[in-house]
Structure formats: C-alpha cells, structure tokens
C-alpha cells in the first residue's frame, strides 16, 4: 500500500504508523464530561468503506496526515496534513518537483 505524503510524495506503508480513527473529538482539557471522554478514548468508527484516519509519516517527515481510506479496497482517496493550516502557510507541498 502506498500513501502519498503531502510533503514527501508517495511512500510505502511501512514508513507510516497508524494513529487511529480521525473522527474523534477531544473534549476541552478541563472538561469533566466522562461520557465525552469515554467516547474520545474508546469509541472508534469502523465503517466498511471510506474512513477518515490519522497516520503519522513516522519513517519520513514525521507529520501526521489525515487519510481517507476505503477499508474494503485499501484505496487511498485523499491525504492532507492533519495539522490544519500548515499546508497553506508553508505552501511548499504543491510545488514539489
């Protein structure tokens, strides 16, 4: 499986670390809402089909990516930096040679 890192280009899946379901929302740090924390820590979507996931390019630039992957075909539909905004601020990904 190849994942296209917005910085490094297409790389083999062995360079990446799966960091879980990308649909989780972390409660505010001071929140005491245990249900919300429980959902964040333990609940994972597990769709048969397109799934938004977080992957770290741990064997490359170490950036975290938001990857939309089809869990049936393994097709990667999109990848972007998980860190919102960095891509546009850096503007270095698009003009990769």
């Amino acid at each position: 499986m190849l994942i296209t890192c917005p910085y490094c280009g297409p790389r083999d899946v062995i360079e990446f670390t799966y960091q879980g379901d990308g649909n989780r929302e972390r409660p505010q740090p001071a929140s005491q809402d245990l249900d919300a924390w429980n959902a964040y820590v333990y609940d994972r979507l597990n769709p048969a089909g397109d799934h938004s996931e977080i992957w770290q390019h741990s064997g490359g630039c170490r950036a975290h990516l938001r990857v939309v992957r089809n869990t049936i075909t393994h097709e990667i539909l999109s990848t972007e930096f998980a860190r919102g905004g960095h891509k546009s601020a850096d503007n270095r990904a698009e003009d990769r040679p």
Partner: protein, 200 residues
C-alpha cells in the same frame, strides 16, 4: 585560565571503518564510501508562516539559497542545507560552530534551532552504482528526475531513520542517528560488496 583545546570527536564507525578496496573490487570499484564528519549538523524549524523568513536567515548565515519545493536543498562547498519536513531544515557545515552563527538570528518568533552535530553521523556514498546500492536500503526513488540534485528526503531502513541529500549526480549524503551509524555502516559495506567498494 586558557581552555584546553577540544579533543577530536570519536567516530562511531571506528572499529568497522577500513580504508581501502573491498568486495568485488577486482572488477572495478563502483561505489566509494566515506564518513564526511561535518563539524556542524543543525536542525532548524520555522513556525507555520515563518518558513520564508527562516530560509532567508539560512541564506544570510550560510550563503546557501534553498530552492522552493518540499525537500528542496542545495549543497555547495563544505556546506549543505535541505528541507526534510514541513517547515524543517537540516543545515550542515564542515566547520564547527555553525550553531553560534545562527544563535542571534533565529528568534522565538521565527522558530527553533537544535544542534545535532554529535547526534547524527554523515555517511557519503558516491559512484556509478550509488543508486543501485541505496535502492537496497530505502523504498524511495533515487533516479535523478525523481530525486534532483541537492534535494533532501526523510526515510527509514527498518528502525534506522535517515535523512538523505543528493549531493552529486551519483552521490548521496546519508544522515543517520549516531547510535545506529555503525550498524548501518556495516550493512552498507555488506551491500556494496557486490559492486566493489572503496572506503576513503
């Protein structure tokens, strides 16, 4: 009291570093391996939006003008710089003390400087079979159009993380963690036996 001069830095490769020709060299030496031992290896990071300012500082301090583009880099004389991650650059100088040269200019508003002069080991592979040998280790495309001159790449060989810069048409500089350097060097020599190699 005058300070004692610093001792020579110990190479992590020492017991496994054997200058001379090795492997299948009777049929010609197709790669040359060496440890370049730069005095300074720095990592510079810019906060989002500050990348251009950092690139400008790198140009002012080192004279190296980084080209645009992810992984863009340049290698000139005893100095080299390349991007290895979003907003992050490795800057290398054969002389020691590059960190001090940057000290005043990288302000907290721009980003950070981390001195890795001891923590990374620089290994150079050069020669007509350099791409061939590199392909044994790293799952990245080493062909010139895909990996242009001066450019940098972050990748890994099993647990060994590596930053690689193409410093010549058939020359690569590989920066690995010091603790892994000997292990990687041994593997690199082993993989080069087939094509014949010389350690300089």
């Amino acid at each position: 009291m005058a300070e004692q001069p610093l001792p020579e830095r110990q190479s992590p490769l020492e017991p496994e570093y054997h200058p001379g020709s090795h492997g299948n060299f009777e049929h010609g030496v197709d790669v040359i391996l060496s440890e370049t031992r730069p005095g300074s290896i720095l990592q510079l990071a810019a906060w989002p939006g500050e990348e251009k300012r950092l690139i400008e500082i790198i140009r002012k301090v080192t004279g190296l003008a980084l080209p645009d583009g992810a992984g863009g880099g340049v290698s000139s004389g005893g100095r080299a710089a390349f991007g290895f991650a979003p907003g992050k650059f490795t800057v290398v100088d054969e002389a020691e003390g590059l960190a001090q040269a940057f000290a005043g200019s990288i302000t907290p508003a721009i980003g950070t400087l981390t001195d890795l002069s001891h923590g990374r080991t620089a290994i150079r592979i050069a020669g007509p079979k350099a791409e061939w040998v590199m392909a044994k280790f790293f799952a990245i495309d080493f062909a010139l159009p895909a990996f242009p001159l001066g450019a940098g790449r972050s990748t890994n060989h099993h647990d060994i993380f590596a930053q690689i810069q193409r410093s010549g048409a058939d020359q690569f500089d590989i920066y690995v963690f010091r603790s892994f350097a000997r292990s990687f060097w041994k593997a690199l020599c082993h993989a080069s036996e087939e094509v014949g190699y010389e350690v300089q």
